[in-house]
């Protein structure tokens, strides 16, 4: 099949295309698709990890002991791809320390910890921007200041996406409200309650992008959300309903369906002429631009083995255990997952905080774990893979540790959607193998880049020594001029003073060593003694 490549996506395809593969998963969200949202109770502590999923960690601008109001800036972006963090309630900064964060390995990271004072005072909102006059630059600045990141996927800072889209003259904006993962219904709920804000946010995003077209994508079972959007003044935006096949909400799959074009391998949506934002992100943009409110809250679904599944309005930074306490745990033995059951992160520690990308907290009852058996090459994984990979072949080479082999089979085009492992009759942990292989390869590449850097430094030194040696033969003591800050032989102003100084220093060192035994060094006995 011939597929239009780069920049083909500027036009919305007249007919909805399909995407390869995909799998029908149980929706498990029917009850929440009609229910309203409610606010979660304010927790005593809010925790803000500085490191987001992508980019560099934010830089704190508050100290321990500082009193803050809701909406006050806690940390600023440290680079182009980084995010601002705002206080979710009024209170006092009690700690900037290592805390457990949402991570498959249960690692800790530096977090700002805010103790709520219960008053929930709000900082005066920033003045609204006049949409009639606001330039894209002003809108981008406001979106960046509000700390808005993609609320559906990897949490890429929204202003960076817009900025790249603007400089690449992207014309099509897609608002993604396709919640293809089971259980999750928070975007559906948000659209039903705030359809006008979503449409307003989409308009602002179009203005910030200077885009000419906007598509809002829903799933075909989101009837009430569709009704709510249809009753708004869409101002040229188009609503598209896509079939509820997992992973229809994947960025690459949705672009393929709507435009018929594919995002090139190792490329970004802008390479297909598209910028995509989550529907919740659009609503947050409306809050930031016309109400002056930074991102301190989000809607998320709490579902699974809880007494009262709900779509909750949750302050960013709320510990997940607090949400589960609020909803009530209904089965003793359950796995807690941040995100959906297909791609979410299984938590080792429930005390980790909700971050801007957390769209779901799921308690899955511990099922009967069946052992994995060898692959029978049934090919079901090939049928469902939306990236059109060969999961079973990738599994074989990844298991064998053949990193060249996995690259040849395009491992890095894998979106880790989990469709292959979901259908695998042998119950192989396929995605786990892909992630393992990816992280090993990335570590290896890092190591190789460092080795190359060290090699060039070593070579540079050898060259310099060779030149210095040649020069020394003619003119003793003279150092080669472009030696830079290198090892210039120390000019000895006064030999006696020098020796005295060294003797004194050695004596000092001896005294220090007598008083204190340093911890065992990492090296072997060879060079240290």
């Amino acid at each position: 099949m011939e597929v239009a490549h780069a920049r083909g996506g500027e036009r919305v395809s007249a007919v909805l295309r399909g995407f390869h593969g995909g799998v029908r998963v149980p929706r498990s969200k029917e009850a929440l698709q009609g229910a309203g949202s409610r606010s979660a109770a304010l927790p005593p502590l809010l925790i803000y990890p500085l490191q987001a999923h992508v980019g560099t960690p934010a830089r704190p601008v508050v100290d321990v002991g500082r009193k803050v109001c809701r909406g006050e800036l806690l940390a600023v972006p440290s680079s182009y791809v980084s995010q601002a963090i705002h206080a979710g309630t009024s209170g006092i900064i009690v700690e900037i320390a290592e805390r457990a964060v949402i991570h498959p390995g249960g690692i800790t990271d530096t977090c700002i910890v805010l103790q709520a004072d219960g008053e929930d005072r709000r900082l005066e909102p920033a003045p609204p921007l006049d949409l009639g006059r606001a330039t894209p630059e002003a809108l981008l600045a406001r979106i960046a200041e509000a700390g808005i990141v993609g609320m559906g996927g990897a949490g890429f800072p929204s202003h960076v996406k817009l900025c790249e889209g603007l400089s690449n003259a992207v014309r099509l904006l897609i608002i993604n409200a396709v919640e293809c993962e089971p259980y999750i219904a928070c975007d559906d709920c948000m659209i039903r309650e705030r359809a006008a804000d979503v449409v307003l946010g989409a308009r602002i995003l179009m203005q910030a992008l200077a885009a000419s077209q906007c598509v809002i994508a829903l799933e075909d079972d989101m009837q009430l959300a569709w009704d709510a959007l249809s009753s708004c003044d869409l101002a040229g935006a188009q609503i598209v309903r896509v079939p509820a096949i997992y992973p229809a909400g994947g960025e690459k799959q949705l672009i393929r369906m709507i435009t018929g074009a594919e995002v090139p391998a190792h490329g970004l949506p802008i390479d297909a002429g598209v910028v995509m934002h989550n529907a919740a992100t659009a609503a947050a943009v409306a809050d930031a631009v016309v109400r002056g409110l930074p991102m301190t809250e989000r809607l998320l679904t709490v579902a699974g083995a809880v007494r009262t599944p709900a779509n909750l309005r949750v302050r960013i930074g709320t510990p997940i255990a607090h949400l589960l306490d609020g909803c009530g745990r209904s089965a003793a033995d359950a796995r807690v997952i941040a995100g959906g059951p297909m791609m979410g992160t299984r938590l080792i520690d429930e005390s980790v905080p909700v971050v801007k990308t957390t769209n779901c907290v799921l308690r899955l009852p511990a099922g009967s774990e069946q052992p994995a058996v060898p692959c029978i090459r049934c090919g079901d994984c090939v049928e469902v893979c939306p990236a059109q990979l060969q999961p079973q072949a990738l599994y074989e080479v990844a298991r064998a540790g053949d990193w060249d082999g996995v690259r040849e089979l395009h491992l890095f085009d894998c979106i880790e959607c989990g469709a292959c492992a979901y259908v695998c009759p042998s119950r192989l942990p396929l995605v786990h193998y892909y992630r393992h292989a990816k992280s090993e390869i990335e570590a290896l590449e890092l190591e190789q880049r460092r080795a190359a850097e060290l090699r060039s430094r070593y070579d540079a030194r050898l060259r310099r020594l060779a030149q210095a040696g040649g020069a020394a033969a003619g003119l003793e003591g003279q150092v080669e001029p472009d030696a830079g800050e290198g090892p210039a032989p120390a000019p000895a102003p006064d030999r006696a003073t020098m020796q005295a100084e060294i003797a004194a220093a050695i004596a000092r060192a001896k005294a220090r060593r007598a008083a204190y035994t340093p911890p065992a060094a990492g090296g072997d006995g060879d060079g240290t003694r």
Binding site: A265, G344, P374, D380, H410, A421
Partner: protein, 340 residues
């Protein structure tokens, strides 16, 4: 990092519930109509052969699992050995002595399956490899198919299958339609001279009915999503294409596609044997190629070979080519410009 291996678990956290055992159970169910019709035409010997081959396959599987120190529960009852046993039993002449089926089943499990690493690792279809062994070693016993009719129900089946004192019961055996036509054509006879006999063999043999029953079961498998359309469609298309070409070239010397479709193990092969996932290609295009070539080879062996049917050797030949086919039919990856 030791701790990680137990606590770090990757998504997805839910599963469709599919299992190898489930797949194989559905295959066994889909074989039922064909088995029933075979019994109707060829007598209770069919059931006896299936029972012998299946029991032998399970016993050999259990023995190999215990020798290799593997767990019994997940592997012995995953249905793979049972499916191989049933397919082998269906391939056996109904009145063959018991040790033939036993030998084939043990060879299939021990040499073809476990010597290559067990389930999922065998290069060749175990049932067909076992059958091929018998064809090569005991060609006459394997050609002795009963002439269908009431006699199959009155014959001393037990006496034939479990012979004592070297007694042989071969009163009811005769050539199948496939063998009869092939031998006739290779003997430079014209098809028109054979036609009445062929027609009689067809009708009496019930081969068309047996094939229809396996076709029905196969379509159920297809509808249930247990197998994909590429291999059966390719197999039948290849079979029809080659037989049609030959038939159009000289209708007197080559049987029609219809004859090939309705005789021998055509439908069993297309839907149940060639579709064995382990020994066939994985890529959709590869499966189509695999099926087409296998179907074509079946006709060539039937017409020009010496064996009663060509399905087993065609499938084994293509099994050997499966890794190569997979390599050259990799699908184009999303966003990549070429398929490699």
């Amino acid at each position: 990092m030791q701790r990680d291996a137990e606590t770090v678990i990757s998504s997805p956290h839910i599963h469709s519930g599919a299992s190898v055992g489930g797949v194989m159970r559905r295959v066994l169910m889909a074989l039922l109509p064909g088995v029933i019709v075979s019994v109707w035409f060829l007598g209770p010997g069919v059931l006896l052969q299936i029972a012998i081959a299946t029991l032998a396959a399970l016993a050999a599987e259990a023995a190999m699992l215990s020798v290799r120190g593997l767990a019994m529960r997940p592997f012995l009852f995953d249905g793979t050995a049972a499916v191989a046993g049933v397919l082998l039993g269906l391939a056996m002449p109904p009145l063959a002595p018991w040790w033939l089926g036993t030998l084939a089943a043990v060879f299939a499990m021990v040499v073809v399956k476990h010597a290559y690493g067990g389930v999922g690792h065998n290069l060749f279809n175990p049932a067909m490899a076992g059958y091929a062994l018998l064809l090569v070693c005991f060609p006459f016993a394997m050609k002795a198919w009963p002439v269908p009719g009431a006699a199959v129900w009155t014959a001393d089946v037990l006496g034939a299958v479990f012979p004592v004192d070297g007694s042989r019961v071969d009163a009811v055996s005769g050539a199948t339609a496939l063998s009869f036509v092939r031998d006739g054509l290779q003997g430079m006879k014209m098809l028109s001279e054979l036609r009445p006999a062929e027609a009689a063999g067809l009708a009496a043999g019930g081969a068309a009915w047996v094939n229809a029953a396996f076709l029905g079961g196969g379509l159920v498998l297809l509808a249930a999503g247990v197998i994909r359309w590429q291999i059966p469609a390719g197999f039948l298309a290849g079979l029809i294409a080659v037989s049609l070409l030959l038939h159009l070239g000289d209708a007197q010397r080559h049987a029609s596609p219809l004859f090939h479709l309705m005789n021998g193990a055509t439908m069993l092969g297309a839907f149940f044997i060639a579709t064995d996932p382990v020994s066939s290609p994985v890529t959709p295009r590869g499966r189509l190629v695999f099926g087409l070539l296998a179907g074509a080879v079946v006709v060539l062996i039937r017409r020009f070979g010496q064996y009663p049917d060509g399905v087993a050797f065609a499938v084994l030949l293509m099994n050997a080519a499966a890794p190569l086919i997979d390599r050259y039919t990799r699908p184009r990856v999303y966003g990549e410009r070429d398929g490699r």
